[in-house]
Symmetry: C2
Subunit: 394 residues, 2 copies
Amino acid sequence: MEGECRVAVVLPAGGCGERLGGCTPKQYCPVLGRPLISRTLEAFERVGWISDIVVVVAPESVDLMKNIIRRYGHKLVSLVEGGVTRHRSIFNGLRAFVEDHSLGPALKKPEVVIIHDAVRPFVDEETLLQVTSATRQYGAAGMVRPLVSTVIAPSSDGCLDHSLDRAKHRASEMPQAFLFDVLYKAYLQCSDYDLDFGTECLHLALAYSKTRAKLLEGPPDLWKVTYKRDLYAAESIIKDGISKHLCIITNIKEEAVQIGFRLHENLKSHIKVNKSFTGPVEFIEFLFHHLGNSQPKFLKQKSCKLIDLLQAAQAGASYQSVVVSQSGSEMQKLSKIRELAKEVQKSDLLLYGLLINFSKEESQLEDGARQASAIITALITDRNPALTGQVMVV
Amino acid sequence: MEGECRVAVVLPAGGCGERLGGCTPKQYCPVLGRPLISRTLEAFERVGWISDIVVVVAPESVDLMKNIIRRYGHKLVSLVEGGVTRHRSIFNGLRAFVEDHSLGPALKKPEVVIIHDAVRPFVDEETLLQVTSATRQYGAAGMVRPLVSTVIAPSSDGCLDHSLDRAKHRASEMPQAFLFDVLYKAYLQCSDYDLDFGTECLHLALAYSKTRAKLLEGPPDLWKVTYKRDLYAAESIIKDGISKHLCIITNIKEEAVQIGFRLHENLKSHIKVNKSFTGPVEFIEFLFHHLGNSQPKFLKQKSCKLIDLLQAAQAGASYQSVVVSQSGSEMQKLSKIRELAKEVQKSDLLLYGLLINFSKEESQLEDGARQASAIITALITDRNPALTGQVMVV
Ligand SMILES: [Mg+2]
Ligand SMILES: [Mg+2]
């Protein structure tokens, strides 16, 4: 986005999540140990050209949300108290740009405002660019998806009245974007009925600001986390994403380098292995599995103990998983791994041990590397904290 | 369902699964090691009053489907070759009840035919009863769900034309059911355009058989596995279901009974523990985690070795996971567990070791039981075959 266009986000997060069947609103449910809304905020914060994020929360969730902002270090976020319906909450969010609101002073008014849902964590920069660009051209824009199910209209007695042509309709998804004035004007002019029973911002823009929104086909991962199964699906998508980053670090002994090479070869088919390194590492093999795109900091350090490596690495990333594998049957190290795992788990690092009993024979070496790779993949994929500190044997 | 009403199922499974982004049609994708369609068939086979299941498959998938039927022991299934569209496939399926078809003789015509999707594995007897009963009263019936997203209609230039009132529309889901003659007549009379571009059987029944289907609100788990994330969600739902069945079996030594009791107490908060048993078991603790509602057979046996127990238990169930935990530091048993795990994995049993080093002190005993329970829960929840034969230590 070019510098001259100010873009802000309003994120209504006041819903009560009744569809999940639990009492925690779904935006606050943990997904891999982190509340869903924090993952959504992170997605916006990765985009450089967003000026403000207004999160609209239920009054009873203000403290919870403040804690989340502090715990995960969110920037750009302003909190506003929600209304009793989605539209009233969004309207409150918009007001934060034109008047002082209960939780702080007015924010600088943007040219474009993006409306999104707290429960759609997989929004990416490309989508945000598209919806913003289309908005600057058309005044409003929204993502749509093909309908998965046919939509039908029931008659008053609960029987089929008619069914809709699936090809002629779309599911309206998020994000949507609006010229700020288009949406704000629509909210100022719309009826109480709209505010209480409407769901579609694009409709308000059309009805009250005469703005026909551009509809853009979005990617499938924009779906709304609605049911419990959606939380599982979200978790799996995050795990899939995480599994793309893995470094293998070995020390400089010839045996270790060989094992590292074989693991690399075998892991390639399960996980994308970014790079392998050789360096003065305390353990013979050290597999580092990290989230995010940045190079772990510790690779720049020349020499340090494993625990320092792990903690240095933690500094930049939010959630990580580590596998240490050691060669030979140095059983005294087993209890050390457990202590170490307990220590680093405080910083959200998951550490597992893997003992590789390599024989010298070529065929067994290859077989061992294959088994070790399968175990590493399993540990990294499942990320189960209950197994940290355990030592697997190959 | 009373005996006088014959009910059959037609399961169109000819789709090409393009939405998954892979080339395996989604009905054949493995979910916890078993093709999705096999899980759907299992759901119907659990219901006693279904007479036939006609699976309509693409010609190129007939052999694959035959293998699945053999491998998982499906009864009641007849195969029919599909047409080029969903409606043509269903029509072919119906024809199997009135004329000899290419893959076998005609089946006995049912009063009610249920149409379902191969990619909706979580259909339950209650839903099938509801849809069948309503069909006997109304001539046709189908499950519906509230819309998750607002449905909108685009204009020809890709902008918003209008949005639909979410409260006045429903998503049409499966199963649907029809008096056989109602649906068959509709297919005989409908146009080629209907067969090629239509998607909704309820619409055909209305248009060509003047039958207004009863719409029934279905449970959320009836959703259609469409995207890759849906496979993960399906997997998690199955895992959740599986985790409800766990037996703790200990031998009759006092120490073992005590440990068994503590594990039971701790596991209760993670998993539903059905029962605990005490008997002449070779290992000190033996946790058996099984799928399905039937009592594992081996509980009736008086005395046998672990491997016999495991294999006897396997006979009735399709997929199981087992944890053996042993007390004391009998290290010579570690390699035995690995061999055993390899042996029973051939029968889809997953076996893990858990070594509990209990001290005599009360507080450590409790702490150990808590840790052991967390590990057992992790192993059972993740069901990761790569970790079988590994021994965890508490
Ligand atoms: Mg809206
Ligand atoms: Mg249909």
